[in-house]
């Protein structure tokens, strides 16, 4: 697709931020949703329309092998989900407690925890990663008698590394530690089975690998008692009662849902189900391996995780700032990436001295030819990266 007159054709490789394009059936479902009055039990009598929230909860439960569809809560995005869970968990505690997180985390985890630490609600230990992963041993070594919460990513948005979350979830469950898993980069990208990950809560975003619209996300909560609600309002149920309902899902949902967004999420899940999660995962791994293979061995390109499990590849070119590389790729080659710290500052402190890097990320709808074109472009930029800086 051409970006504009005289511009190179667009190659979009920023799918870890948000996926583009979306499958046609997602676009069709959103259009269909907007052509009839919205319906949700308790909020409308338009009974012939699709109850998107109810159908999406059932679809999510089947997709993630979850027992309770009503324990799926819709939010604006993963950041919204993480804030609700972290602040809701802390609100339930009667005394300050200890929490554990990791150097791999996004600011949607780090900032709420930092805010609570600054308020004196918790003390925080940040576990380092080794070879792009946080280990169970690292979590165990950080444990204190007053540890009550672990919040960690399932997949790094910078290093593309899939964390071995199952043993950590089993350990936390056995020790009565509430584990919140940030699945923003893994939901829809790799198989996720809640029967195998006994986490307290799993967070997903709707607009990345699940192919929904931006403004969608959610979480699954095993035991609603663990987390207090932090917002109250209209639920379409028990309207006479001024006490906000504690039944699921209304305990955590108030106000009019994002019906078109939820419709897009439902269509995205159905799309992945029809294509097959393994096929989606396999295609992305093929694109990632191919791209990394084209860059490996180039002495001017620094690859930060040549063994990425997820379709996320971060790199720098020697002698150039990452924002310069991103600018050249976008303007001269039409390749859309992301540069900078990717909202994950602690990872960058470790890998590039906090300066940031260029990130390329694929989806299962990315064109394999675009993958090769992008790799060639990066190599061309690297080949010309010897700057002339004239002395004053």
């Amino acid at each position: 697709m051409a970006a504009g007159t005289g511009s190179p054709s667009l190659i979009y490789l920023n799918n870890a931020a948000t996926t583009w394009p979306k499958p046609q059936e997602v676009l069709d479902e959103v259009a269909r949703c907007l052509q009839t009055p919205f319906f949700e039990h308790g909020r409308s009598t338009a009974g012939s329309a699709v109850d998107y929230p109810a159908e999406a909860r059932e679809a999510l439960a089947a997709f993630f092998h979850a027992e309770e569809p009503d324990h799926f809560i819709f939010t604006q995005n993963a950041t919204d989900s993480l804030n609700m869970l972290i602040h809701g968990f802390a609100k339930n505690r009667k005394a300050p407690f200890h929490a554990i997180t990791t150097e791999l985390e996004h600011n949607s985890v780090l900032r709420p925890l930092h805010a609570l630490e600054a308020q004196g609600a918790l003390s925080l230990t940040t576990v380092p990663f080794h070879d792009s992963r946080v280990t169970l041993q690292g979590i165990e070594e950080a444990m204190l008698p007053e540890t009550r919460l672990v919040v960690m990513t399932h997949g790094s948005n910078v290093l593309g590394s899939l964390q071995h979350i199952r043993p950590i979830a089993e350990y936390c469950s056995a020790n009565d530690i509430f584990l919140i898993v940030d699945g923003a980069q893994t939901a829809g990208q790799v198989p996720v089975n809640f029967t195998e990950i006994p986490a307290g809560a799993f967070v997903f975003t709707g607009h990345k690998a699940l192919f929904g619209l931006p403004g969608t996300g959610g979480f699954y909560l095993q035991d609603p008692v663990e987390v207090a609600s932090t917002r109250q309002g209209g639920t379409g149920t028990e309207s006479r009662n001024l006490v906000h309902p504690q039944d699921m899902p209304w305990k955590f949902e108030a106000g009019t849902p994002n019906y078109p967004g939820i419709a897009s999420l439902l269509a995205g899940i159905r799309y992945i189900g029809r294509e097959g999660q393994d096929a989606v995962t396999g295609k992305c791994r093929g694109l990632t391996s191919r791209f990394i293979g084209e860059l490996t061995g180039d002495p001017d390109i620094i690859l930060y995780n040549p063994a990425a499990d997820l379709p996320v590849v971060s790199f720098n070119i020697r002698g150039m700032d990452n924002d310069q590389v991103g600018y050249i790729l976008a303007k001269a080659y039409g390749i859309i990436t992301r540069t900078g710290l990717h909202c994950a500052p602690l990872v960058h402190d470790r890998i590039d001295g906090g300066k940031g890097c260029v990130r390329v990320s694929f989806s299962s709808l990315s064109d394999p030819e675009d993958c090769l074109t992008a790799a060639r472009a990066v190599r061309e930029v690297a080949a010309g990266a010897d700057p002339q800086i004239r002395p004053e």
Partner: protein, 104 residues
């Protein structure tokens, strides 16, 4: 961040002028020769040789002090040594305001 469309490409003489205020890097061996200019706390400029558009970034905390800075560089860039002197005066005046604003 702003993208400026200029009446003509930035000249080698103008890049030479910019050297008086910060670091100019040129990458003539790129498929599209690229340049960047960085003046700490003030602005960074990047673009391709021969293009009439450039990207200019400002430090957010000082953007009200520096938002006209690129225009001033373009104006004084053709004034020779007098232009360099004047820009240094302007730079120092802005830096003084930055010093006042920075927490002690």
């Amino acid at each position: 961040m702003k993208e400026y469309i200029l009446s003509g490409p930035l000249t080698p003489a103008f890049l030479e002028f910019l050297r008086s205020f910060g670091t100019v890097k040129e990458y003539p061996h790129m498929k599209r020769p690229f340049f960047s200019f960085e003046q700490e706390d003030f602005i960074s400029v990047k673009g391709f040789a021969g293009d009439t558009s450039v990207e200019v970034r400002y430090r957010k905390e000082f953007s009200d002090l520096t938002s006209d800075y690129f225009h001033l560089l373009l104006f004084y860039g053709s004034k020779g040594e007098g232009g360099i002197r004047k820009m240094h005066e302007i730079e120092e005046s802005i830096r003084e305001k930055m010093r006042i604003r920075r927490p002690r």
